[in-house]
Symmetry: C2
Subunit: 102 residues, 2 copies
DNA sequence: GCGTTTGGTAAGTGAATGCTTACGTAAGCG
DNA sequence: CGCTTACGTAAGCATTCACTTACCAAACGC
């Protein structure tokens, strides 16, 4: 799991919708699919991608599997954005110094 | 421009490589393409996506076009991640309270 | 003006991807 | 034990997408 998997996972609108539903709390696959315009197998496949990206966790309870949001993937993405962000600011600072020294 | 455009823009490895090069400072299209394993038109198309996502700016200088990183798209993404993040924490807090009250 | 440099755009192509239906499987229930 | 529920997985299909080559337009130098 790394930031690039998180990015590709979040790039799909359906997967973001799944996360959106999971923000309200853990849900089973069927419950998630019921509120989405795609079939249950499609949701299952999306959950696989989200899980591999570290964005959700799976927990088997009886015959159902309950999925919940996981922070791990989000942290990965947040760190990536922060790295880019500070680098951009640094570049601006350097540019400003160069301009001033001219 | 919105966070979903930023996500789809950053989901592609070549586009991330372009940003990577731009972190060192503004570059022309040709200069960017020279350091990448794809053709110049490909880079040009990627720059279009990055520009529409608010991740780079274009500035015409003579016959060349110089691209530079822009903060706008990054802010959009950072805000999205922060929203998700706080929501996840909130969900955890509620779950903990519910467990304690049981 | 005329050729050169630089880069966006059009058109086509192969691979990736998101979806569907069909099927297999593990766990509860009578 | 069957039967049902809940879900993952396989296979197939349509669309999207990243890339290429070919072409066109704008700005500079002589």
């Amino acid at each position: 799991m790394a930031y690039d998997e998180v990015l590709t996972a979040l790039a799909d609108p359906t997967r973001r919708a799944v996360l959106e539903r999971l923000r309200e709390g853990p849900r089973s696959v069927g419950a998630l699919a019921a509120g989405l315009p795609v079939s249950r197998p499609a949701v299952s496949q999306h959950l696989g991608v989200l899980k591999r990206a570290g964005l959700v966790t799976e927990q088997r309870v009886g015959t159902r599997r309950v999925y919940a949001i996981e922070e791990r993937g989000l942290m990965e993405l947040r760190d990536y954005v922060d790295r880019l962000w500070t680098d951009v600011l640094e570049a601006y600072r350097r540019a400003a110094v160069a301009r001033a020294a001219r």
